[in-house]
Amino acid sequence: MSISVLVVDDEPEFLRRFSDAVLSDAELQLLGAVATGEAARAMLQATAPDVTLVDLGLPDLPGVELIRETTRRRPDADMLVITVFGDDEHVLASIEAGATGYLLKDTSVERIVAAIKEVHAGGSPISPSIARRVLARCRVGTAPAAAPSPAPLDPGAPPLSQRETDILRFVAKGLSFAEIGTHLEISPHTVVSHVKKIYRKLAVHSRGEAVYEAGQMGLL
């Protein structure tokens, strides 16, 4: 009942560090560690890792493309983006492509293991900046004041529930999942699963995805 993990990173030092982290925990099973996009694509077609850690800056193809392909074929697959500074545009793009979370490259070994287990259990990490961007992207209908949606919403903008909106607002203020759980009177685990649901909504509603789907169906 171990969690199978694939690590994709072209930097040998990072590849080693994340592989070591996976190997260090008995519940995790390292399915492979590859340094190119093509190798990763082959691995993903041949095997079905539970969690894939993907670097966005691969030499041969964009990590976002890899994420999109994989989650389209296997919607339940968890893809975690590896990023140096959690720099927001790229992270948001990967989430819209289907990623369910991200890891900073300087994350400690223990946190890497914990994050892999967390995402596999149905939760997703999120930083205040990302929460803010997601809120801005979704333009929640129940937003206060700010004139009831001046322009008709972007048809690709996913509708968020009130609860999801509340959670994102707390995250954007820097509150931890535990603190949010206390505020909303739900368990921290429920909070993280909400975040993962939000990510999934974003992925389904992302414009690129919609265009891609339409292309697949022969509409374009």
Partner: protein, 619 residues
């Protein structure tokens, strides 16, 4: 507007015409001949005197005689109707006798007074005094002052009812109308003068007011029917001054209207105008003739020049206004010349229209009135046009102002944009410098120490993590979309929460974001976050604390960061030789104009950074 104006003019002209036309004479006798005897007696001369026969009306009589008697025989049919005699004018006054007995009289010019009797007479012939068959009417006609002199009207004798309309009509036109027009002119003059008083630059209004006043005064002279000898010359001088002045003022008006006014012409006209009244005041028997015949004749070319100037204006602008004015001037000038010729009994009039001068129908009154009316219309139209122009101008002006405002707003926006760009550039440079001095030197220090083997793995790791944390802060502070201290602070809190918890420290955050946003620039925010990060690092590394309270808020005029732990106190916390933390924090605070205090708390340490809001914008 224009058609309506023309309709008004036409209606007025038609009314004049209709009123003048019409009237009938039933069984009325209009004697065309009478017997005349020059005789100054107050009673009719005897039948056997040297009467001679003349045609009526007669204006040919010698002007030097003082009075004469007229004898008219008429038949009285036995119809029983009340009869009367209608006498159109009797300028010098006179008396009526019927069948040898006095019937009625009108004040007469004599040695003490001058009479100007403008009214027509309608004298009832009492039935008791009339004889069936032939009757004799004897009338004493007193010479009026020149130019009228000894004038014999053509009377009408007949039923009173048949003569009444004729009498009333002449009364209306020759007396009532001039009176009314005189009064109206004076009133209108006051109104127009008021406009001119408020707008002295509108000279046309001033001249129009003057013309109205002069014409009104001249017309009202005729209201006075008897004058003592002493006042007679002055009255005539006044009359001539008004008449001549009217013509001169109209001429000035026409010149200005045509834009052809020359000062010397104005002066010359004024000089000529002044001659008339002055001459009339001379104590000479011929004064009236000199002025009335010669001086007034000199006004005829002036009057014609009016028509020329208006004609020139019309030739240039071809406007309906100028055309109407030209027509009115032409009519008035013609009427004036006509009246002059009739008054002085020019032979040419007798030649063209035999007997016409004797009827004494003078047209100038009406011509001038019509002219004044047209001038009034014209100036009113100009006034109204001006109002419209002002409206249009206002609208144009408003549009221009709006356009200018838009341009200004655009300029302002462009300047603001430049200012923002400049501010952003400066901010970036400041942060670059900051990273260069801070992160750069930290990394170089780490390099040197590692190279000389002074650091073990754990120390190197800690040093590098510090560098990475610093870098994160800089990236958060610089993130273009979230240049907001709140987001950077949230990110810091989110990163530090697990670290603090992992170190066994319970953090408590009190963040009171002001509604209008944090009053911090990106650079100041970055320094504040670094101070906070340094403080938290010290708490984890050296304080041995169980709790840390972080409070960030704005109070009156200041931004306050307050970090309090329950650890081992200042001395122990900052004792470490490698942790020059406190000095670092002070330097950063100083750089943005903030004050940093490190105080002992009981237990633990309290670090308070206070930044006056005035300084935050600049920092």
């Amino acid at each position: 507007m224009k058609p309506a104006r023309w309709a008004c003019c036409s209606a007025f002209a038609a009314a004049l015409w209709l009123a003048a036309a019409g009237a009938a004479a039933g069984a009325v006798v209009e004697p065309t001949r009478a017997e005349v005897l020059v005789d100054d007696r107050a009673q009719p001369p005897p039948d056997d005197a040297a009467w001679r026969t003349v045609r009526l009306p007669d204006a040919s009589h010698d002007g030097r005689a003082r009075a004469l008697w007229l004898r008219i025989a008429f038949e009285r049919p036995a119809d029983g109707e009340p009869w009367a005699v209608y006498w159109p004018y009797l300028y010098g006054g006179g008396a009526f006798w019927l069948n040898g007995a006095p019937l009625a009289s009108v004040p007469q010019t004599d040695a003490t007074r001058h009479v100007r009797w403008q009214r027509p007479q309608l004298i009832p012939l009492p039935e008791s005094r009339l004889r069936p068959g032939p009757n004799v009417l004897q009338v004493r006609v007193v010479a009026a002052d020149p130019p009228n002199g000894l004038l014999m009207a053509r009377p009408a004798i007949g039923p009173h009812a048949a003569l009444l309309p004729q009498h009333d009509r002449r009364l209306l036109w020759m007396r009532t109308m001039p009176q009314a027009i005189g009064l109206v002119c004076l009133l209108a003059s006051v109104l127009v003068a008021f406009i001119w008083w408020r707008r002295p630059s509108e000279v046309l209004y001033g001249l129009f007011a003057l013309a109205l006043a002069l014409w009104g005064a001249r017309t009202l002279v005729f209201v006075v029917e008897q004058l003592p000898n002493a006042e007679w010359a002055a009255s005539r001088a006044f009359y001539h001054a008004a008449t001549g002045g009217f013509i001169v003022v109209l001429s000035l008006f026409a010149m200005r209207y045509a834009g052809a006014y020359r000062q010397w012409v104005g002066r010359a006209l004024f000089g000529y105008w002044a001659i008339g009244p002055l001459v009339r005041l001379l104590p000479a028997a011929q004064a009236e003739a000199w002025v009335g015949r010669l001086w007034i004749a000199g006004m005829i070319p002036v009057g014609m020049s009016i028509a020329v100037f208006i004609g020139r204006a019309w030739w240039r602008d071809r406007s309906a206004e100028s055309a109407a004015l030209l027509a009115a001037v032409a009519l008035a000038v013609t009427a004036g010349v006509h009246d002059y010729l009739v008054a002085w009994r020019a032979p040419i009039v007798e030649l063209l229209l035999p007997g016409w001068p004797g009827h004494r129908i003078l047209l100038m009154h009406h011509g001038a009135t019509l002219l004044l009316l047209v001038m009034g219309f014209l100036l009113t139209a100009r006034f109204v046009d001006t109002l419209f122009e002002v409206e249009v101008l206002n609208r144009t002006l408003e549009e221009r102002i709006a356009a200018r405002e838009a341009a200004l707003a655009e300029n302002y926006e462009r300047l603001a944009q430049l200012e923002r760009e400049r501010a952003t550039t400066e901010e970036r440079q400041r942060i670059m410098q900051d990273m260069h001095d801070g992160l750069g030197s930290q990394l170089v220090t780490a390099l040197y120490r590692t190279e000389r083997g002074a650091l073990d793995a754990a120390q190197t790791s800690a040093l590098l993590r510090g560098c990475i944390d610093d870098m994160r802060l800089a990236i958060d502070a610089l993130a273009p979309a979230d240049q907001d201290f709140g987001v950077a602070l949230a990110n810091l809190r989110w990163r530090w929460q697990p670290q603090l918890e992992a170190a066994g420290i319970v953090p408590q955050w009190t963040i009171e974001a002001p509604a209008e946003g944090w009053p911090l620039s990106a650079h100041a925010g970055l320094q504040v976050l670094r101070v906070l990060q340094e403080a938290l690092t010290n708490v984890i590394k050296h304080a041995h604390a169980g709790r840390v309270e972080v409070s960030i808020r704005t109070t009156d005029g200041a931004f306050v960061l307050d970090v309090r732990d329950d650890g081992c106190g200042i001395a122990a916390t900052f004792a470490s030789p490698s942790g020059r933390g406190l000095a670092n924090m002070r330097r950063r605070a100083q750089r943005i104009g903030a004050r940093l205090q490190a105080q002992p708390a009981a237990p633990g340490t309290r670090i308070v950074l206070t930044l006056p809001v005035a300084a935050t914008r600049i920092a």
